[in-house]
């Protein structure tokens, strides 16, 4: 089981206050990571309008992610991609009951503050938007609202967790409709996890120290992760997922759930596809049910997609050196 501890003792995001005569605490690691645990085995869908958010909720999405443009349109539009309009985020929060997430630019502390004040349920510090600081991600312990971050490998994942991320997702290559990069990223993470688990099991502390140096994270986090043999937070798949079979495949690779971006609302059969991806994520262990889900969609209506080898913009490389 994934632990919920991992608090930074003096985290500024922890708020102590009284509810009636009771002492309460908000923004603890248990609450932030616990929130992510409630999303497990679910599908988070990218939406840009109230109407799309309602379709997502009716289809069984576990949460929605509000953007100004879907990632494939971000790709086409070029220019600078920023956080979504606050008014649209608020309209969506008032019209559905499931959690509402929104993206901020990597390192943009004040976009994140604005989203926290807006009361979104989780903030995605996302490479889909144009980074504001290539060298520093947000110090997420300063926030009461939980964060999710993208990662292509174990080092990126652990560095984000050390900064206070309560949840990790693969980066994949957003807006391409191509699942190949997400597959590479989760396999990278799995391979590296197996490696450090075997070092841990062999009791070779010296080698674990060199892993910590190599990944540029603290020894204690490497040791905790190695002993678990998995990331110490919930880990979702994201970036390029378009069909029920894509979702089910990523679940078989050990992902705890799925983010779908352009895949649903860039397809011509969005409503059916949203339901089908949810069904395939829930019943991924049953190939017959995934077949039924796949049957609900029409491949001729899938987004055309892009070859990830010859892209002008590789979003996954954003923020990867920090």
């Amino acid at each position: 089981m994934i632990p919920l501890s991992g608090d930074l003792g003096n985290a500024k995001g922890i708020v102590r206050e009284n509810l009636g005569s009771l002492e309460t605490r908000r923004g603890t690691s248990t609450l932030k990571r616990g929130f992510a645990h409630m999303l497990k085995n679910g599908v988070v869908m990218d939406v840009t309008t109230v109407e799309q958010a309602q379709i997502a909720e009716d289809a069984g999405a576990v949460a929605v992610m509000v953007l100004d443009k879907l990632p494939s349109d971000v790709r086409k539009a070029g220019g600078v991609a920023r956080t979504a309009s606050i008014r649209i985020i608020e309209e969506i929060m008032d019209s559905i009951t499931i959690p509402v997430m929104a993206k901020c630019r990597i390192g943009h502390v004040y976009e994140a503050k604005v989203l926290e004040e807006t009361d979104v349920d989780m903030i995605d510090e996302s490479e889909v938007l144009t980074p504001a600081d290539e060298f520093h991600h947000i110090w997420k312990w300063d926030f009461t609202t939980p964060f999710v971050n993208g990662a292509r490998n174990l080092g990126e994942a652990l560095r984000r967790i050390e900064e206070g991320a309560a949840m990790i997702r693969t980066k994949g290559e957003p807006g391409t409709g191509n699942v190949a990069e997400a597959v590479i990223h989760i396999k990278n993470v799995n391979t590296e996890l197996r490696r450090i688990k075997s070092i841990y099991d062999a009791g070779d502390e010296q080698d674990l120290v060199s892993v910590a140096r190599e990944l540029k994270v603290s020894y204690s986090l490497v040791e905790e992760t190695a002993s678990l043999g998995r990331l110490p937070v919930v880990n979702f798949a994201a970036g390029g997922i378009s069909t029920p079979a894509d979702a089910a495949y990523l679940m078989t690779l050990g992902c705890d759930g799925i983010f779908v971006g352009s895949g649903i609302f860039k397809a011509d059969d969005a409503k059916e596809r949203a339901q089908a991806v949810v069904l395939a994520t829930t019943f991924w262990e049953d190939p017959d049910k995934v077949k039924e889900a796949q049957k609900m969609i029409d491949e001729r209506q899938s987004m055309l997609g892009l070859d990830t080898k010859n892209l002008e913009l590789r979003m996954q490389e954003r923020g990867s050196t920090a």
């Binding site: 009636g20 009771l22 616990g34 009951t97 959690p99 009361d119 349920d121 009461t144 019943f283």
Partner: protein, 205 residues
Amino acid sequence: MSGISIGVLAVQGDVAENISATRMAMDELGVEGIVSEVKTPEQISDLDGLVIPGGESTVIGTLSLINGSLKKIKEKIASGMPVLGTCAGMILLSKKAKDRVVGDMEQPLLDYLDIKIERNAFGRQKNSFEADVSLEKIGIPNFRGVFIRAPSVVDAGKTVEVLSKIDEKIVAVRQGNIIGTSFHPELTEDLSLHKYFVNLVQKKN
């Protein structure tokens, strides 16, 4: 097979945490039996007790309706099977749910526990909180409540016993063999509530 069989509804949400808490509660009590993930009506029909975990109640309800699990769970509850519902689980057990902001909901419910729920009663995630609660009536004077976008009970029928309140809001109830909590006992290391539930299941058998 010897011992009891407890299932955790494994559609969506924090299933593993409830499996682990139930397993540890049984081990500490020295109760024999198995704890397993259940998804299908067939798996549910063999159970002596069921835990409905935290997660999104709309998702768990919609998907359990699709594959017929919801109907089977209702039958089993009617025959007296003990159920523990935490957060989303309590919402699913209820007769009626409304959202604090959006209003009346038409989501699929088990329609059994005679309570009306207010979803997201304490606000959104930023207002999620930890606080000590008390469930004296079932012998748990102090328990760490982890409330995540938690619901509260706004109306409880005559057959429903209120087990705990926080700031005048009802956060834990019992109706016969059904226990519902707004908070997540499975996210704490305190096993008292899961132990109480395991004892209920064992007494029934």
